[in-house]
């Protein structure tokens, strides 16, 4: 592993107490490790024509096309306003799990801090909501760095809630958001998912882009147990012992089924889902995420330009 990559190793990174410093380190690493991408400045890009209707703003009439075809068309553009992005951060106790790497909550906090820095730097507004059983704190979207500092302070705390209620939290955040934007749900999603279906659909219906960013510890993906320990649930405190002969296969089967449910839920609600292991270096994870998001956005634009449906 390269020295810079070693620096951005999550275990190394969490040693930096200051979250701001930590996120800048990620950004620096990310800039060095990823090919330079053009600054996104697509807010004035033309998207399509639409026939003029009464009441349309005459400023968007395409006079040249009118001259050519003697028909009135209105030009439509991508939203020119800055992106509003809300992070819905799961701070339940299960997020404190980190057996083989950093805890998910530390990883997620660094991730959110870094992304929000990037967004604010891009003149996008960033908001934050912390949740476990319900929304615990909410910070509306702002785009100045002072707000970013406040977000960093909010990211540091943890919750005392014993359970995670994704559906309720998403439902609540739907009522708090104003305008449309990008909602990034940062969680391990190791909870009941079905309750989230309707709130997600509502968010989507309001025009929000929703990204389900799942953070998982490698031990959760590759669960192994020798049957020699009590296993205690971080949220409920319940202790069990397992049969090591059967548990591993059963766990992987159930976990795969859960992940499939999550993806099916994302498909059904037209949300995006990304899974990041906490063992993945943060800069690489962010680069990959942003790259995938860029590709995804470009693909959608292309599909729209080819006559696809416009969301």
């Amino acid at each position: 592993m390269a020295p810079e990559s070693q620096l951005l190793d999550p275990r190394t990174l969490v040693r930096i107490r200051d979250l701001a410093l930590r996120s800048r380190a990620v950004i620096d690493g990310m800039c060095r490790g990823v090919h330079h991408t053009p600054q996104p400045g697509l807010s004035v890009e033309f998207t399509e024509y639409r026939s003029y209707a009464m009441g349309d703003d005459l400023r968007f009439l395409d006079w040249k096309r009118y001259a050519r075809s003697d028909r009135l068309y209105v030009r439509r553009f991508e939203d020119e306003t800055n992106l509003r992005c809300w992070f819905l951060f799961d701070v339940s106790r299960s997020m404190a799990f980190g057996e083989q790497s950093v805890s998910k909550i530390e990883y997620g906090a660094t991730l959110i801090a870094t992304l929000s820095y990037v967004l604010i730097n891009r003149r996008d507004a960033v908001g934050l909501a912390r949740f476990a059983e319900r929304i615990e704190s909410f910070h509306p979207a702002r785009l100045h760095f002072q707000h970013w500092r406040r977000l960093l302070g909010a990211l540091s705390g943890s919750s005392s809630a014993t359970t995670t209620d994704l559906g309720r939290s998403v439902e609540q955040i739907g009522g708090l958001l104003k305008g449309r934007g990008l909602v990034i749900v940062v969680s391990d999603f190791l909870a009941e998912l079905e309750s989230m279906r309707l709130p997600l659909a509502r968010l989507r219906a309001r025009g929000h882009d929703v990204l389900l960013l799942q953070l998982l510890d490698p031990a959760e993906v590759h669960f192994v147990d020798d049957g020699r320990h009590w296993i205690r649930d971080l949220e409920t405190g319940r202790r069990i012992t397992v049969d090591p002969n059967r548990t591993s296969a059963e766990y992987h089967e159930r976990f795969a089924r859960h992940q499939e449910t999550l993806r099916e839920l994302a498909r059904a609600t037209e949300c995006d889902v990304e899974t990041i292991l906490t063992s993945t270096p943060l800069d690489q994870a962010l680069s990959d995420l942003l790259e995938r998001r860029a590709r995804l956005t470009k693909g959608r634009v292309l599909r729209r330009s080819q006559g696809g449906s416009v969301r």
Binding site: F97, E99, E220, F223, W230, D233, L234
Partner: protein, 682 residues
Amino acid sequence: MTFLAPWFALASAAIAAPIVLHLIRRDIRGERTFSSLRFLRSATPPPTQKKRLENLLLLLLRAAMLILLAIMFARPFFRPSESAEIEVSGQRVAIIVDTSASMRIGDRYDEARAQVEQLLDSLGTEDRVRIYSASDIASPIAGDWSGRDAFDPPLAELATALRPGWFADDLPRALEMVLADHRTSLETDDDNAALRIYLVSDFASEFTPNWQRIDWPTQTIVELIAVETPLRESNAWIELLANDSTRETGVWRVRITNGHDAASEVLNLTSSNDSLTQTVQVGRGRAQVLEIPATESSTILQLQNGESVASRLALPPARKMRRVVGCLADGAEDRDWILEQAVTSVDAVEVDWRLLESDDLESLKEIDALALLTIPPSTWKEPLQQLLLRGGSIVICVAPSESRRTEEWKELSNSLVPSANLELSRLESGPGFQMIKGVRPLDALSSAAFYDPRFDFGETRIWQAVQVRRDEQQGVVLSELDQGEPCLIRYSVGPGRLFWFTCDWMPDNSQLARSSRFAPLMSGLLGLADVPPPFELATIGDSSDNLEPVELLAPTPPGESPSLSRINVPGLYRRLAVGDRATGEASNETRASATVASWIVAQVPSDQWRVSPGAMDEIRTAGLPQENRINQQASEALRLRERVDDERLEREQRIWRWVLLAVGAVMAVEGWAAWRAVRRPT
């Protein structure tokens, strides 16, 4: 390898501790947190599958260390081959067959013989067998322990020789005799063979502590073989009960017992002289006491159960317990009245007191004892001699006032005891008084009540007495006054006894009449306290002198003399009077005149009629050396000797030092292995 303290080797069981600890370490050690249990199912880890021992090398080393320590403390040593245990080849077998009276019941004895035959068949060829018959003693019947030849028992002869007798069994005593025989034979033959004893018996007798007192030699094993043949219809028996002085003497009390599995409850009781025919109903397992009128002659009672005779009992003739005592008074009424009061106060016998006149010769023939308070007429000479020859007693009491009739007294003395040469004179006690010294305990007065130390005459004062001069070769002075003058002289005339009493009991002459000792003394002199009981009870095997069988219920054993010293057969015996023992031909004449001192009814002990073995369990728990159990006491000595040898060997070899060295080496390796195990990442 042998251990001097092998119980320390038990400490090697401590290796279970490290094994358990190693197993325990496989159990749940701690806690592991996890984000969510929603994909996990609670289950108990299987206890066995994961119970593989961790750090096997470490475990082995620790176990080895513990075992070595245990071995070290057990003090190991090697015993040379020459000190190995002595092997015993062949064994001595003693088959003891109970031949007591109880073996006569039913088919017990046939079964016993069958058991003996089976035993003989089952013995090995090298076994040396000796067969004993046992009742109260053990008698060898066949076989020899000294020879190595196989025993070929002549069973037909054996069956003849082994017959049940009438004796009670005393199996502990019989066993001791067999063991003594065994010990003697061991010393004689220089043999070390083990002894196996088979005791074939019905074990009818009660358990006695004698079983626990038997000194068992080493390598002795006893096996009890019970003969249990249920009784059929002959299990009823009749017994004579002991005397009861409160009851009339003309009645015999008998007890009839019916067995638990008797065929009938109705029994017939008949006597041999046809004086009694009675039907008795006795329930099964119950007994009934009957009073049978005594007859003048001896008789045999027969108890019949249907047609078969169940039991028989010989009874003595009725014994007279009434005594006629005559008294020839001297005219002083108070003197004979005091004597009468003293004599008739005796409880043991009914006294018929008769005051005789000088011409009352016929009455003399009826009396058993006579008190002469004065000189009888000359016509009494012959009746008095006959009275003495009948075994009667004559007490001559000379009052001091009549001591002057010296010649007449001398004539009376000579007529009764010609060699006595008695001369009487008045004895004055001078200014003081005389006292009677203690009465000598002689046979004639052996049963007199005044013989009791409480009746000592030491304090009885005499003021006037009669002085007697006599031939000192004749007669026995039973008591003296304190100046040495005879007070009481006894002469034996045939079976009869003649007493001269030189002291008067009147208050003017002595304190005798007011003494509580006077009545026992006079009744003893008159033979009233010496009345034998109507009979004595004896059991088979009892010994007594001068016995003569009268009515036997079984034939007299061959070779036994008519006069026996030991009762072998149930029946009626009589014991002849002491001093009349007949010896040789000359004794036949005296035998004819001998009197019966007592009748003896000899019976089979009642426990011999028991139906089932009664003491088997108690005997088994009384320390009998049974199979695979060597006698503790004797083997203890052997163990002690071996122990001394072993300690010497252990001191010489000192193997424990090498074991200690090995423990140190193992400990070092274990430390290294433990260090490695700790450093090894899990």
